[in-house]
Symmetry: C2
Subunit: 321 residues, 2 copies
């Protein structure tokens, strides 16, 4: 345990996330375009939380990523000498086999079967936690956020695409990294860029909602938010596309409810910021699609876009116990 110094002059970042008291850890959340990084001190407060560009993908991409993460770690250590990190958390997108420590596949980062945990462990002299970004975000919502009352929850992040994570009986269910692909669970017959057809995210992601509107109306729009505003104002094309997205989400959630019966469905990502414009009709449509089933609570995520980083830090602490 280390003395907190979150109040020391000059050390308070513009934005602070917190994971509660415990050991100090370094945490990284790697996305296709940027890396979020921070040092979490013994109070659980983040130090030096920031975004920096992800190294360009390529043949040597994983090694350059580890190099970059090590640089960021050195900077954080140098800037916060009073908080000595005892473990490192790294979370990445794609298909991640956390048990084996392998990044199985990422189209954004252009890698296959990269032993990232071993590469990280060889570089850092402390325990390394390695996992999937959305499962880490789900774990953070379980420990600190909207799913903290629940041992059975589904986490959906609806943005450019739709990613999911499953909390089952208090544990994240990974299945070698293949579980939780709710965005690519088929529910219809339209084409999807993944090669399958009828995937949820091709109709109901924020990206798809905006793209489908632009294709149908022939005019640009301010994202899914713009489509929802137009729909609310009675514009026919926007209303149809928004209804189709809501129906697709309700159908996917109805299947999840019948099969897994989660107590809580946490929805985060850009689309969740629509608030009641999303949650009220989605609750009504989900109830209308079911009968004897037990309805879950549909709630917005609480941890904002830092959920993955917080999860990374929590997993790093878990690696010390």
């Amino acid at each position: 345990m280390h003395a907190p110094d979150a109040g020391a002059p000059g050390s308070v970042p513009a934005r602070t996330a917190t994971i509660g008291p415990g050991r100090a850890v370094l945490a990284f959340d790697v996305g296709g375009t940027d890396i979020k990084s921070a040092l979490f001190d013994a109070t659980g407060a983040s130090r030096g939380l920031r975004r920096t560009p992800t190294p360009a993908p390529g043949p040597d991409g994983a090694h350059r990523l580890v190099d970059r993460v090590a640089e960021l770690a050195e900077e954080l250590r140098a800037q916060h000498p009073d908080a000595v990190p005892e473990a490192v958390g790294l979370v990445v997108p794609g298909i991640v086999d956390a048990d084996e420590g392998v990044a199985v596949f990422s189209s954004n980062l252009d890698w296959r079967d990269v032993p990232l945990r071993a590469l990280m462990s060889a570089r850092f002299g402390v325990p390394v936690a390695f996992d999937h970004d959305v499962r880490a975000a789900g774990w953070a919502e379980r420990r600190l956020g909207a799913a903290r009352e629940s041992t059975d929850a589904v986490m959906l992040i609806i943005g450019t695409g739709i990613a999911g994570a499953l909390l089952i009986d208090g544990r994240m269910h990974a299945a070698g990294g293949y579980a939780g692909e709710i965005g690519h669970a088929p529910i219809g017959d339209w084409p999807c860029s993944c090669g399958a057809r009828g995937c949820l995210e091709a109709v109901a992601s924020a990206g798809a909602i905006a793209r489908r509107y632009t294709e149908a109306a022939g005019t640009a729009v301010d994202g899914a938010r713009g489509v929802i505003a137009l729909a609310a104002a009675g514009e026919g094309t926007a209303a149809r596309i928004w209804e189709e997205a809501l129906d697709a989400l309700a159908l996917a959630l109805a299947q999840l409810t019948a099969v897994l019966a989660p107590r809580t469905v946490v929805i985060g990502g850009g689309l969740s910021r629509a608030g009641d414009a999303l949650f009220a009709p989605l609750r009504a449509r989900l109830a209308a699609r079911l009968s004897f089933h037990r309805l879950p609570d549909l709630v917005p995520a609480e941890l904002s876009e830092d959920a993955g980083l917080l999860g990374s830090a929590l997993l790093a602490r878990d690696a010390l116990t």
Copy 2:
């Protein structure tokens, strides 16, 4: 432990199921029309395995069921005095909250919120295991049958309806009894007798396949088996109804694969006896509905119609450890 006597003259029943060596237990598998019952001895062999009618449902149905089970237990004990049962397993259909020991709901047996484990425990002076029939069957397939190599499996029983059970990370996932309702997971828009619409079992159960054929063709048919035979012979209506059932099953399994990523899907019940006429096209259609996902093995159940009873016996033994 008790000495085995499975070979003693006169003690071998017409049919013997086995769960392997262990303590002797009584096992009951209650269905809407009959009760399967047996005593499992220390070798794991069943003694006196038989079916007897389930008491008629009604206001006092649960108490009459417990009375009947106690009678059957007395008969088994009297007939097999060398194998002294140390626990009792009881499995029933419907929505079963095994954690609380409560039969939450059964339309066939007409009960709601019956504390069956407590009623059984008050009657029997030994530990009572109480669970859901299909989860018990899934557990038996996990321990003794088609899922014994897998910690992540889905069990589907396709007969009059479609029931499911989920093995996740080596444990049956119940969610208070609401998980595994794959037969009532919506995948389309047709009506279902449960009150929802688009449920898998309304198109793809053996019962639905036969009923839909008779409705469309106006002639009786020898069950789903008859429809499959007519489809194989090129009869158009039968071919269409069988294709629709296969497509619905493939879509439901594609969703399960994307969300849960089981290693194994075990299919039992009457429809599974179609063998390759079911499994070969279903494997092909499942693969065609997916892209980067990890395909599960689709395999027939191995334990025949005794799986629920075997699971009941295994759970009774588990109650002793």
